[in-house]
Structures are given as structure tokens and as C-alpha cells.
Amino acid sequence: MAEKSPQELLAERQQRVLDAAALKTPDRVPVFGPYQKYPYNFAGVSFKDALNDYALAREACHKFVDYFQPDVDFGPIFAYPAKAMEILGWDAFKWPGRGLDDNVMYQYVEGEYMTAEEYDEFIFDPSDFMLRKWAPRQFSSMKGFASTVPWRRFMWSGWMNLPFFWSTPEFQESLQRVTEGAAETNLWWASQFQYWGEVNAKGFPIAYAGWDWPPFDIIGDTLRGTHQVLADMRRRPDKLHAALEVATQIFIEYGSGAAGAPLPLVWVWVHKSTRDFMSDAQFKEFYWPYLRKGILALVDKGIIPVIYWEADFESRLEHIADVPPGKVIYHLSNTDYEKAYSALKGITTLMGNVPNIMLHSGTPDDVRAYCKKMIDTFKDGGLIMDAAVMLDEAKPENLKAMMDFTKEYGMY
């Protein structure tokens, strides 16, 4: 048989994922690998260098994809642009070279970036709140935005008033730094676009057409902080509900950019949904209805949300089954996949769940045995093989075993 062309391979891999997502039977179980720092470890590149040298990050990702041949590829998107973050002064973030060692994963510094008294401002005009309150707290470069007035006052002859506030030295300085940061960010995006073209030309689709965050986590992660948002469920439930309505609209707007993409996967990074964070009753009141509403809106636009349930969500299985069948992918991590399968069979395709510790310190035989059990469980389909959580560290032979075994044994 003649070798398939990269274009044929690209189409084949896309179709495999689309079929799996739609609960049709693909030719075999697709195999992913949400790897954030891993390709750089694999290529022997320090994470700090990968964040600073966009060409080096691309090169490492090429090495990764050439060797492992996953069905979809993330590329260098997780190597955030360190120089741009430096220029913009992202104070709410630590990365190698700024607060962390060279090979440590970057981390978000949680805080109360919106006070309890500011809920109404956010609800009334989220853009204004983000621009003049939130951004100056997160980015030192944007401090000058705090001394401006709301853009909504621009209307009619209001435009004559706004420039008065733009003439301040602090706003002028912010504009200067934001302009520099934008230029650097664009270089990074250009590198991403270049990589997409290159890897598509090799026959690999890009794993994402968009990213998103559940409404509760939009409020919790970026605005109120974990401590405050969890307490708000009891202290000020009405305000929280009103803010969640707004955040749901932001969720839908954010994810909708993926509409029309050939592989319209929008990865939804779920953070505070587990029983460690809230009761089933709280989940049903504050978390799931808003996320579900957002999911349904994206599905309506032909988008496939990939819900990255980033912890054990066994106790939630019965609550999250009310989504349209064959339209959503649920990513598992540390959840009993047999229970998940029996609860969600015929509703969503499940992705996961190879334990990271096994990929890190187990053997290829361990990995193959685990994958075999998973594939046998999902013998009617509905499975995408993947690591349990984002992969930073693993023995190459273990990850290779996950990829190769799935391709051999996972034929339908």
C-alpha cells in the first residue's frame, strides 16, 4: 500500500477525533497527550529557554511530534512568552526566570483581584472593570489605566472629555509599555502560526481551536480568588449568581471563536469543581448550571467542548450527564474510569486517564497493561487515550508505549 500523504494523514487524524467525539466508531482509539512542559524536557531544552526563545520551543515540539506521533498536537502554546510577560509586568504570575527556577512549571499567584464591594461594578460593565481595576492589579504596565474614566462615556460629545484623562504621564507610560508588550506578544503568536503550518504540513492537526474557563472559575480564579469565591457561596450568593450570569456570557463569547475550525475543540479548564472544593448541592447550584449553559451554547455553534475535569469527579458523574449525546468530550483525571464509563456511556466520549506517576516512574509494560484494560473497557468506543493530567515529566519509553500500544491494540 502506498504511503499516505501528509494531507491524507491530517484528514484521517481529524476524522478519527471527530468520530470519537461524535460517539461513532473511528478506525481506532485516538491518542492525545496534553503536554505542557514535557516536549522541552524530552528535547533537553530548559523550560526557561523555551519561554524565551520561540524558535527553540518550536524545534523542541517538532522533535516531540516526530518521535511520538500523537493524533493531535499542542505545539508550543504552553511555552508562554516570557519577554512579553516581563514587559507587561504580569505580577500575578511566576515563571522560570521570574520567581521560579529554570525548569519549574509556571504558576498563577492567586489573590483577591476583585473585592466583594466590586461585584456590582463587574456585573454592570465587566469590560470597564477589567480594564481599569483588574488589569492594573495584575499587570504593572497597566497601572495607568486606573486613572482613566470608563470608555462608555465616550458617546456623543463625551469624546472631548476622555482624552483629558489620557494625557496623564502614568497613562502615557502604560500605553508605551503596552505597545511594547503587544509587539513582543505578536512575535510569539507569529511563532505559533508558523508552527501550526509546519505541523499541519507533516499531517498533524492542532489539538485546540480555543480555550475557555467555566463561569465559576472565571470568577474564582481571576477575580475573587479561591478562598473568597468559596466563601461567597454562603456570604453573598445573590451577587455571585449575578456575576456568574455575566461570566457565562464571557465564556460563550470566549469559546465561540472556534466555530468553523476543521477540528473545533475548545478546551475548558475546570478548576474548582470537585468535592474537595464544594458540596454536591453547591456544585448543582453554582457550578454546573452555568457551565452547562455555556457548553450548550458552544455546541449550538458546532463546537466540541473538551471539559478538562482536572481531578476526581466521581461524585459528580450523575450531575453532569445532562449534555447532548456525542457533542462533548470529558477529560478524566484520577477518576475511576469504569464508573465514569458506566455513568456516561452513550453520552460523552471520555479522554484520559493514564496515571502520570505511572508515566513518570512505571515501566512500558505497566503502561501497556493499563491501556489494554482501558481499551477493553471501552470496547464499543467513546475513548480517547491520554495522560491523566497535563504532562511535565515522564519517561519517553513510557509515553511512547502509551502512543504505540493504543495505535496497535486500539483498532476497532
Binding site: 499567584v109 468535592r275 481531578a311 493530567v389
Partner: protein, 213 residues
Amino acid sequence: MSNKEELVVLIAEMEEEKALALARSMIEAGESPQDVLDASSKAMAIVGQRFEDKEYFLPELIIAGDMMKEISALVKPLLKTQATQVAPQGVVVIGTVAGDIHDIGKDIVTFMLDVNNFEVHDLGVDVPPAQFIAAIREHNPDIVGLSGFLTMAFEQMKRTVDAIAEAGLRDDVKIMIGGAIMDPEAAAYIGADSYGKDAASAVRLAKSWTGAA
């Protein structure tokens, strides 16, 4: 119901504003600050028990912790001598390992050990092995708890356990690990004595290790 009894109920039922108002009025009326503190501690134990029973979750622990903090700030300056406390069940040194700044899991375990009468020394986040060793020497704990959320925590925990062994302290302490991606296999790799799936199992482990089960 006495004010003291009512305060226990208000805190345990998460009636934050009423509880704090009552605590303040008790102090203003000249009631014993020690009574106010005792009532709060009693309520914390109830909250801890409800957390273990999966009746309460993290939001309730947070609010309880905030109430305790406020009440402590209110009464502690009034306590002339440190209250006589019952001897702790055991001593624990706990921290999130180097390179990792996630604190939620560690904070829950700290809270739960605290309400179960363990003396807990929380070293915070991003704690290098040397700091664990210094804390072991200072506090002479029965148990060391290592927390970590990131996958690289496997290596950092292993390094920390190895460093504790090199310092000649490994046999003096039991080591437990916790974190979303931890499991018994990880504990074995790291060289810890055990892993706790959640805060309740951390408490069970700690009790069994200190003979308090």
C-alpha cells in the same frame, strides 16, 4: 441556652455575622474571654467532624477559619496568661514542597489536624528540603506532611525525603504525602510512609501513627 452554648451553635451553623456579633457582645459584657475562645474551639471541632462526614466542604472550613481568626484576634489580647491547653495528640510539620505554590490542600489538612488536637507547624508553600530539616530539628515532630499539586512534586518530594534521610532524621518521623495526583504508587516512589487521599484520611493516618486512633 447560655451565650457560650449559643456561640458554639452559631459558629457551627455558619451564622458568621451573628456569631461574631455575639462574641463581641460577650466580651463587652465582661464575660470570660477564655469562655469565648473555648466555645470557638468546640465549634471548630464540630465543623471538622461535619467536614469528615461530608456534610461540610471547603467553603465551610474557610468561613469557620475566618471566624476563628477574628475571634482569636478579639480575645487573645485579653487573655493575661496563655490558656492551659490539653496536651496535643502529636506534632506535625507540614508544607508544600519546593517549586510549588499551591496551598489549598495543605491548608485543609492543617485545619483538620488542628481541630483534631494536633500541634501543627505550617511552613507554607515552596518549602525547600533544608527548611523541612530545620523545622524537624526545631519542633521534633512525630509526622512530616508533604503537599504538592504539580507533577514535578514527585521529584521534589523524593528529594525532600532523601534529604531528611541524609540528615539522619528519617527514623524519627513518619512522612505522609498529599496532592491531587498522589497515590500509593507515588508514595512508594517518593519513599514516604503513606499517602492521604483527602484531609480525613490524613487525620486518620496521623491518629494511627500517634496511637490516638
